[in-house]
Symmetry: C2
Subunit: 581 residues, 2 copies
């Protein structure tokens, strides 16, 4: 068997050999330490070693194995401990918390790397014939529990790792479309598109370790969504192999052909079938790309400035507004500046403080990228700057934007780094309409802070806005704190629950772009309504009557909160501000 694609380290983010080094960021550790209330050295909490992990004994299905080996030729099922382990989880905090402790209760029993759609169809048919569960797998960076096998599964569970289906098959330069295989990873796809002058324009935080199929299956959003849309806005057509046949939609810009079947596949998270390829809308690589930064007196001003740009149809490719806590983290994340730059920084800071009366504990950093040609890009930059200026924004030049571009994929590494030091750090994100954005921001900030405090530790909670639409925007919360000894996971779930409860109570959605998986199941019924769940269940039963496709995702169990890992007595105990009884 040819070797599979390389995998991320099983205990964290990035390639196995990748080391995350903060030695060039002198202000980062002091900032973190103060934020979460560490005095002295951090307690080191490394992951267990590979050898210390024991996986559950594999379930086997010799008839399935024989059938697929006959049909596909050769031994295609990989059952090594390493293959099983790297495909057991995604990269959510919950996943990492468990795997770092060697807790792997539900690893898959084998992994197959199909080479093409015909092989996928053969595998789905064989799985149906032999009652084997299949889990479609991109690069495993999902953070909502989308790829973890169900714990109560008695059938053999096989992961289909799609990453050998990694080619841009054709580009229609006139129409601006590209036919792309679902298993291609972000950088490899952009490389193939760029070679012909195009870009997809989809750059999620997971870009380096995620695939087109994964993006479509989870309704992903990239940091350039303001210009290029969310992934569902870019899919022109797709193909999905289901147990009841292959859904194929036509390559047309719009249609009125009844219910839009494409939208039944997008966001289906592997529960209906395997997305094998898609026709994506692509764009000529812009001539000019200009990163830029601004500082606003406060978060509210920044939000109003973004909305004003949307209303004026004057929209940068990237708009990311950090709230004060996130702004402070951004500044702490800066590499040490050479003396002249540091001096200049001090001059600007003094000017803002003394002349413009900025209160730095309240100010908000806005990061943008402007794109276009030599005429339109400067004009857009001018118009946006003018709108920002009217809302109190102060132009910081290109350096903050460049600094953002350098560090934009770093957060998951930082999460591993703090997890090595007995802290937790995670995110929860949502979207809401403009009129509700600031109320929801304040109520959720307060809800998360309260929840962290109730677990007995000091909270760091920040937020940014990074996806703006005509009717509203996303809110992306980041929180961190010290882990309670031996109760870190329940503590985390309690805090995460506070965020999600706040989203739903505040009229927002359970996630703007992280998917449902298993981790957001406690909120799915409230989000899409019981009849909405009935509709999704009908699709599941119709297309996958034996429930062989990634069961346990999207559709909630009877008691989803308990299934997620949080029992009512634990919630009550934390609510009282103490430890569980």
């Amino acid at each position: 068997m040819a070797p599979g694609p390389t995998h991320m380290k099983w205990w964290g983010w990035g390639d196995e050999q990748a080391e995350f080094d903060i030695s060039d960021k002198p202000e980062l550790w002091p900032f973190i330490r103060d934020s979460v209330g560490i005095t002295g050295e951090a307690t080191r909490t490394p992951a267990v070693s590979f050898d210390d992990i024991s996986l559950p004994p594999p379930r086997t299905n010799p008839a399935f194995r024989a059938a697929i080996n006959t049909a596909l030729g050769g031994e295609r099922l990989s059952t090594t401990k390493r293959e099983r382990l790297v495909h057991a989880y995604g990269k959510s905090f919950r996943d990492l918390w468990r795997i770092r402790r060697g807790i792997v209760d539900a690893a898959p029993d084998g992994v197959i790397y199909p080479e093409n759609e015909a092989e996928v169809a053969t595998l789905v048919a064989a799985a149906g014939d032999h009652d084997v569960v299949l889990i479609p797998f991109g690069a495993g960076s999902n953070i909502a529990g989308c790829v973890e096998p169900a714990h109560d599964e008695s059938r053999m569970v096989v992961v289909l790792d799609l990453r050998r289906m990694d080619r841009v098959l054709e580009i229609d330069a006139v129409s601006g479309t590209a036919r792309i295989q679902a298993g291609v990873m972000g950088p490899h796809m952009e490389q193939q598109l760029n070679a012909q002058g195009f870009t997809l324009g989809h750059f999620p935080d997971s870009f380096l370790f995620s695939t087109l199929g994964g993006w479509i299956a989870t309704r992903s959003a990239g940091m350039q969504s303001d210009r290029y849309g969310k992934i569902e806005d870019m899919v022109v057509a797709l193909r999905m192999v289901t147990p009841r046949g292959t859904i194929e939609t036509r390559t047309v810009p719009r249609s009125s052909n009844g219910i839009d079947v494409k939208h039944l596949c997008i966001g289906s998270e592997g529960t209906l079938g395997v997305i094998t390829e898609a026709i994506m809308q692509v764009h000529r690589i812009p001539e000019v790309r200009l990163p830029y930064g601004y500082l606003f007196p406060d978060f509210e001003d920044g939000v109003h400035a973004i909305r004003a740009c949307v209303e004026a149809d004057c929209i940068p490719t990237v708009t990311r507004l950090n709230d004060p806590a996130k702004t402070a983290l951004s500044f702490a994340y800066k590499s040490a500046a050479p003396p002249l730059k540091a001096l200049l920084g001090k001059v600007v800071k003094n000017y803002l403080k003394r002349v413009k009366h900025f209160d730095f504990s309240r100010s908000a950093l806005m990061l943008n990228v402007f794109e276009g040609d030599r005429h339109t890009c400067p004009e857009l930059h001018r118009r946006v700057s003018e709108i920002y200026r009217r809302h109190g924004g102060f132009a910081l030049g290109t350096e903050p934007g460049r600094s953002f571009e350098r560090g934009k994929y770093d957060f998951p590494y930082l999460r591993d780094w703090v997890m090595d030091r007995n802290m937790m750090a995670d995110v929860s994100e949502t979207a809401t309409v403009w009129s509700n954005l600031l109320p929801l921001y304040h109520s959720t900030l307060s809800a998360i802070e309260t929840a962290v405090r109730r677990t007995g530790v000091k909270p760091y909670v920040g937020c940014h806005v990074s996806h703006a639409y005509r009717t509203g925007a996303s809110l992306y919360f980041t929180f961190g704190c010290l882990q309670q000894a031996d109760r870190g996971l329940e503590q985390y779930l309690y805090i995460k629950k506070a965020a999600e409860d706040s989203f739903l109570a505040g009229g927002a959605t359970l996630s703007h772009h992280h998917a449902v998986g298993t981790e957001h199941l406690p909120w799915i019924t409230e989000d899409i309504s019981p009849a909405g769940v009935t509709a999704v269940r009908a699709l599941k039963e119709g297309l996958d009557p034996r429930s062989i496709m990634n069961p346990g995702k999207i559709l909630p169990s009877e008691r989803p909160l308990e299934a997620w890992g949080l029992a009512e007595p634990v919630v009550s105990a934390f609510d009282r501000g103490g430890s569980a009884g």
Copy 2:
């Protein structure tokens, strides 16, 4: 019982008292006559009279009637001949051809006008309890057979006419959203929105006689779609009452909450439930609105010019490019000009012919509307004009645009007028990617012309492009000819089939914005693939297990072409260029 809303004339388009008068269009009749090859007077073929129509005997269901009267109070079921007749059909050519001859084989048995969602829910529950079929009904202008009762239905069939649910309930001016009841008609909705400074920006050709719920249920498109999107792009959230409960989606700009339940409701054509209200994205009424016209040397140049504008992100609110045949019809449709204007017209014509070497038999009229504020609108106009100029477009000033604005809702009246004179006139539309637009244009034009000629008469076939997207555009064909005595409907179906066959063979879709209904059922499986049909069927069975909601639409029967009215021997006979054996 309070009187229901007024209805269109049962035998054609528009209010009962509306008369369509062409006496101010001196060139129209000569143009039509020459186009379809009439010599002398047209044969008059008026509709039968109301009294000459007999409806099938009504099916009754006393238990249902008693249940709803008890639940809603008073007698709510209207069973008069007039109510049954005006709700029997939409306004497709096939509908009008039949009703004008008194052929009504499957009228509904009664009509109810619910006042609110609670009443709709009561009615859907009662229909489930008593096995009554419900057909949600907007204003009845659909032209794909979406509202006609199934011919083989043995259960009582009741139309829910939603038009008493006609209010804009609230506007969120900050977010640019409006909560609107599904039964509101276009003009009444715009009037309510305009009063608060907003517009939906959705103006389909049927605008005067269609409803929000109808637009959503059929994935409608309006003539301003280039700026405001198709209806599915405008729906932020919606509510749909199904036999398994009410689907309710959240008012958020985007989400990653699994399969997007909103998109299961959009385009469902009443087969899953009744859309009762929606949160729609609305827009401030633009400060400036500028209609404008251009003439291109040929259709191809015009298409390239539209694509260049899309690529340059330089997009008028309305862009409508007529091919030569449609251009000739547009000029023939002009009202008689006063002498000076006529003289000026002649001067321009001479200049184009002698100086610019325009061949008027090939030239293509482009009609635009530009919108924006006092700064952006002229700038957009300037940039578009510059792109058009580079593609050979000649600016005609504001008059052609104004003339288009005056006549933009007239076509269905003209169709009635020609049907009164033994002609047929109808439309077929699709969408495809840019690289395929001109090949599909030529092949479909030729397919329709050939089909008409095979039925023994002279064809008029024209086309326009009126919805452009980044990856492609729509093609909207209009065809007309003399009707074959006694075989007019089969002749029509044969021609329509040629258009649809050409769309599907050419990689396009069965409709860009007219829905599936019953008339496009022969092509649905090819369009969305057999597994796509399986998915839609799964939804139908899951949400409407007793199939009480508008059965027979979207999902094809075993032999959809025959069900539509076209038997294979008829097709073969026409194919041979003769009449059927």
